[in-house]
């Protein structure tokens, strides 16, 4: 567990105790409500986690690396953004991967597109986002994120 998660645990537990001391009844009512809300999400979250495992097996980091490093920058930028949208690899794998490519002389544009869609666009989490916030919201947010990821990548290509 990283330090941030630990701090989160401590803060959450302390605040819960404060809430319990202040108003037991209200806290229990809130717990019931949250339990209902998160219980509804839980099966989707577990599904998403196992879906990520499946995607990672079929699109391993080596494949991603070959896409990111391909010669045609424009094509590989779009494909990298797509791959980033579908996969959800841990950041501590993604950064060294892109770093090694940049060190080897590849263009940074596909790498940035990949890193940005990796976290901002979620194809795998889309069903859950749609269920909780509606199709219009989820679609708008993900499509915009995809577009802006490409813009960010191109801008960085110009600046750096």
């Amino acid at each position: 567990m990283d330090i941030f998660t630990i701090v989160f645990w401590v803060v959450a537990i302390v605040l819960t105790i404060v809430s319990l001391l202040r108003n037991k009844k209200k806290t229990f009512a809130a717990m019931k409500k949250s339990k209902g809300m998160m219980g509804n999400m839980l099966s989707d979250i577990v599904a998403i986690i196992f879906l990520i495992g499946l995607v990672l097996t079929f699109i391993p980091p080596e494949t991603i690396k070959s896409v990111l490093g391909s010669a045609n920058t424009l094509m590989s930028t779009v494909v990298s953004a797509l791959v980033g949208s579908i996969t959800l690899i841990p950041a501590f794998v993604a950064f060294p991967l892109v770093g090694s490519l940049v060190d080897a002389g590849a263009s940074i544009i596909p790498g940035v597109a990949f890193l940005t869609t990796l976290t901002m666009v979620g194809v795998v989490t889309f069903p859950l986002e749609k269920k909780e916030f509606g199709a219009k919201f989820a679609l708008t947010r993900n499509v915009l994120s995809f577009g802006f990821a490409i813009i960010i990548a191109l801008t960085m290509g110009v600046i750096l």
Partner: protein
């Protein structure tokens, strides 16, 4: 009937389980390595979800609606956006962990723009991740990408806020739902009882509602039963709960 609604409720899980069965029959190795890959995320979920649960509880019970409205509401302006950026940045865990928090904030009056900011920064901006990025790609790279991303997130928040209104979002627990069957219209065909035995039952050859609908689990099903009813005897209404 019960299994059908179970499958409907857990559609994604069923689909993923089916995918695993297919992969397992074709290549057991690949299925095994998929499970192994999932383990990291499973552990991450177990570390984060209980905290998210407690935080939604605390938000619900300790923070008054007015505070959220002032901080993140429609009129909170740029200051609200910055606050949302800060909240998203100090977060922990993957994007799905942001969903319950965002839902609770929405229910308490946060604006759509600010929810977009919280969700996006939650996913993208994380302090340990920034350090990692600087280490492998250089401080310059990290700072420029961060600045551009924050600008993009603000632009997205603005556009989404223009496009999407609160009524586009699914009904949530804030709404009060009433479901009833007008007895003088009901012809006693029993169709609704067959469709949703959890909600309707027969009484003296007329259908009656036996449970009030849970907005999250059965809204679609209930709406379907309203359309299917041959004599249009089922009435459903929702209104904002005064709280």
């Amino acid at each position: 009937m019960k299994t059908v609604s179970m499958i409907k409720k857990n559609k994604l899980l069923v689909l993923v389980a089916l995918a695993y069965v297919v992969v397992l029959t074709i290549s057991p190795e690949k299925a095994m390595s998929s499970v192994e890959n999932s383990l990291y995320y499973l552990i991450e979920m177990l570390q984060v979800l209980p905290v998210i649960f407690l935080l939604t509880v605390v938000l619900e019970s300790l923070v008054p609606k007015e505070v959220i409205m002032r901080g993140f509401g429609e009129k909170s302006g740029f200051k609200g956006n910055l606050l949302a950026l800060l909240l998203g940045s100090i977060s922990a865990g993957p994007i799905y962990a942001a969903f319950p928090i965002s839902k609770t904030l929405l229910g308490k009056g946060a604006s759509i723009s600010n929810i977009v900011i919280i969700l996006s920064t939650w996913a993208v901006v994380k302090v340990p991740m920034l350090a990692n990025e600087a280490k492998f790609l250089g401080v310059n790279f990290m700072v420029i990408r961060w600045v551009l991303t924050v600008i993009a997130i603000f632009a997205m928040a603005y556009i989404t806020g223009k496009f999407i209104k609160k009524k586009d979002l699914p009904a949530d627990a804030n709404k009060h739902m009433t479901l009833e069957i007008r007895a003088d219209y009901c012809i006693g065909c029993g169709l609704c009882v067959k469709m949703l035995p959890e909600y309707y039952e027969m009484n003296n050859n007329k259908a009656v509602v036996c449970r009030s609908p849970d907005p999250k689990e059965a809204l679609d099903l209930v709406k379907e039963s309203i359309i299917k009813c041959p004599s249009q005897a089922i009435v459903f209404s929702e209104e904002e709960k005064a709280s």
